[in-house]
Symmetry: C2
Subunit: 241 residues, 2 copies
């Protein structure tokens, strides 16, 4: 954590070397947006661990900007729940209690259940096929026990289901929840058989989707998410949870 050069964007005191000043690469085009994305990455990736204090000036220096856009970025991150702001006391990466985590995982499970239920009834034929293919492509990943690749695949799978609900408000809600929980899912597939188990559960869910039973798919999805969270909880005993 001492080496926080990870997201150095504009190097301070260096003339523009022709590279696009990140604002473009960031997102909409504003510095604040770019900083928000950068900080969110650092938090979700674990580079900034939960509970870490965030110094506005330090962040500003790191990103080669002033405090103003940094503050805006931090407020937005607070709104999404990734950081916590105590007025006049500073900002820190959200450190959730075990209870908070449980509540969030429950909401996540119910939300995903809702997504798959709606998706069962609303996905187009193309979407259905795409989801099947996505699932099939993960088989060799499971075989190789490639955790990183499977993690990426898992994200894609669930995201496809969000989209399948054909409700963008729901997609945003589910995506936001996933982002918020990201810092706490680092050990998600650590267990020996977790990849295999996750894959099987996906298969069962997919099966119900193809049979058109959204309720059953929802129940399976809820169980799938709660299983994952329970497995995860085993690795969260030590922290000040």
């Amino acid at each position: 954590m001492t080496d926080t050069t990870t997201a150095g964007l504009r190097k301070p005191d260096s003339e523009d070397d022709g590279m696009s000043p990140i604002a473009r690469s960031g997102a909409g085009g504003t510095l604040a947006e770019a900083i928000r994305v950068g900080l969110a990455d650092e938090i979700t990736s674990g580079a900034l661990a939960p509970g870490t204090e965030i110094d506005e000036q330090a962040v500003a220096g790191r990103f080669g900007a002033s405090r103003t856009p940094v503050r805006e970025a931090l407020r937005q991150l607070a709104a999404s729940g990734l950081v916590v702001i105590e007025p006049r006391r500073g900002v820190r990466v959200a450190a959730l209690t075990a209870n908070d985590l449980g509540e969030l995982f429950e909401l996540m499970a119910e939300t995903e259940a809702l997504c798959i239920r709606l998706a069962t009834y609303r996905m187009t034929a193309v979407e259905r096929v795409a989801l099947q293919m996505l699932h099939r492509q993960s088989a060799p990943i499971v075989g190789r026990n490639d955790v990183d690749r499977y993690d990426q695949h898992n994200r894609d799978f669930h995201t496809s289901i969000y989209r399948g609900s054909h409700n963008s408000a729901l997609v945003d809600h589910a995506t936001g929840l996933r982002l918020r929980l990201a810092p706490f899912r680092r050990a998600q597939f650590r267990g020996e058989q977790r990849l295999q188990q996750s894959h099987s559960e996906h298969e069962a869910i997919l099966s119900q989707v193809l049979q058109g039973d959204g309720e059953a798919a929802g129940r399976l999805m809820r169980a799938h998410m709660l299983t994952a969270s329970a497995t995860l909880a085993e690795y969260l005993v030590a922290p000040r949870g």
Copy 2:
């Protein structure tokens, strides 16, 4: 809308007359927070109609503050969906399309269904009784056809159910959704028999809760919310929805 003195806080160019400088009365204690609350009120109450452009400087003047806290407030409002920010183009009160509204109402309905389902299994005896009493107290309001009072009661009823889920993440989510939809619910109880119908639906939901059938309560709640949104939609034909 020309008379926007509604939320005048610090009158500009008037020496502090001993009154607490609103920062205290606002919320946490910062000006930005107070402005956020003030603007949110104006938006949800309809004083600032959907689609209205918001000028940072004008808001700053109105609240007797500088642009800095106003910008922070606006960013937070954007995060909650009440306003939309187009970089370099300005801020305007969120103007949702009919499709957006439909998606939000669906999410709201499903969220409320989830709340009542969980609440059915988790409310304490005290909470159960309180909810019953709250419902009973609304009977005379319905009798008098007192729309404003019933609106307040309705909020309390639903909020109590959120809390009954005993999941604060879910409470926040549901509350946020309700806030976001508030600007579009102004004509909610305009129909002749709407109060009576709403009351009956509440009664049916409560009945299932007391019988311990969370699933049934959830189905009724979903229908209740969708009925309300459908009724509401009748009044949203004219606007640029």
